[in-house]
Amino acid sequence: MVLRLDPDLADLLATVAEVEGRSVSDVAREAIAALVQARRKDKRFRRMLEDNLARHQRLLDLLQDEQQ
């Protein structure tokens, strides 16, 4: 996996990891997972996604068929 970060953010990441006594990998992994998890819990976001998938299911099926 590739991440592109600026030096300030990289420093912040290292600082958090050092303060918490963890590896920077763990801290960053947790931060990313937490954000994805938070997004999954965003009810408005999910409702709109479900609505779209239901409304356009036929289109998505056609696109899937075309890619196979």
Binding site: D11, A17, V27, R29, I32, F45, H56, R58
Partner: protein, 287 residues
């Protein structure tokens, strides 16, 4: 505009797989490139889409970028369309695509380059309508009250560092693992370190040796694909590229090499590029 975390959630639901599975499959650099390309330089992130033309342009811009960069190579069209529809919904618009077969042809033509993005935008613009009242307000994360189209995004409230970090990380990329570019704090001579690579372990000796092995393999791969100065990893498995190396991480050669060596980074390695040498030239990678 959507971010990488949004793409993960959208792809997982669209493809009926877990977010973990999506993270494992997602081509992170491709997602970054697509999201960056989809946001025109004149458009502020989070800005409202006040009319059909603007909404259609934003949607097609995102779909086109996802089709071009293919962060989800095997299901590119499905995810791209689903993301485009979600972007519309979040901004108070819905697409009335009552002829799915025609729409599929349009998407296919856009993907193959037979249809220009401008033409697809004009086609879509005629098929947009305001969403239901409950969906009307554009999205503003972390802001309780939704904004009216055209309003400015409120200044965000201060957030704890870890939340800010999570947001920035997700804006940069998303994956099941993480990183460091902290040569800045641990190696004074690298105060503006540009690239650091690590592995996603918690630091056991076995994991460190695996990271080192992966780092050696990755470095060899990068060199074999034209980045002849790519350095070896440190004993801890971290690779740091300082500006003094002269390596242009935004060059076509570097990015092509990254793409070629991507399987190694997926397996074990994390690769961080900081602003010091990341020129982000915007070149399009060869297909």
């Amino acid at each position: 505009m959507l971010d990488a975390a949004d793409l993960v959630v959208i792809a997982a639901r669209t493809l009926s797989v877990s977010t973990g599975a999506v993270l494992a499959e997602m081509d992170i650099p491709a997602a970054q490139a697509a999201l960056a390309e989809a946001l025109p330089p004149w458009r502020e992130p989070g800005a409202a889409l006040p009319d059909r033309d603007a909404a259609a342009a934003a949607c097609i811009g995102l779909v086109h970028a996802l089709l071009r960069h293919r962060p989800f190579p095997r299901q590119a069209q499905q995810v791209a369309v689903s993301a485009g529809l979600q972007l519309l919904a979040l901004n108070g618009w819905q697409a009335d695509l009552d002829q799915p077969a025609t729409t599929a042809v349009v998407i296919g033509a856009l993907a193959s380059g037979q249809l220009a993005a401008g033409d697809a935008t004009a086609w879509l613009s005629q098929r947009l309508s305001p969403a239901l009242p409950a969906h009307r307000m554009p999205r503003a994360r972390g802001v309780p009250a939704a904004r009216q189209p055209g309003s400015r995004r409120p200044r965000p409230l201060p957030v704890p560092p870890i939340r800010a970090l999570a947001s920035v990380l997700a804006a940069a990329a998303v994956g099941g693992v993480a990183v460091l570019a902290s040569a800045c704090s641990r190696a004074p001579d690298m105060s503006s370190a540009a690239i650091t690579r690590s592995h996603h372990s918690s630091g056991t000796s076995q994991e460190t040796s695996q990271a080192e092995a992966a780092g050696v393999a990755y470095a060899a791969c990068m060199r074999s694909h034209g980045v002849s100065e790519f350095p070896e990893p440190s004993p801890g498995g971290v690779i740091t590229i300082a500006p003094s190396t002269g390596i242009d991480v935004g060059s076509l050669i570097f990015r092509s090499a990254e793409q070629a060596c991507h399987a190694i980074t997926r397996a074990a390695v994390i690769h961080i590029v900081t602003a010091g040498t990341a020129s982000h030239s915007g070149e399009k990678l060869p297909a």
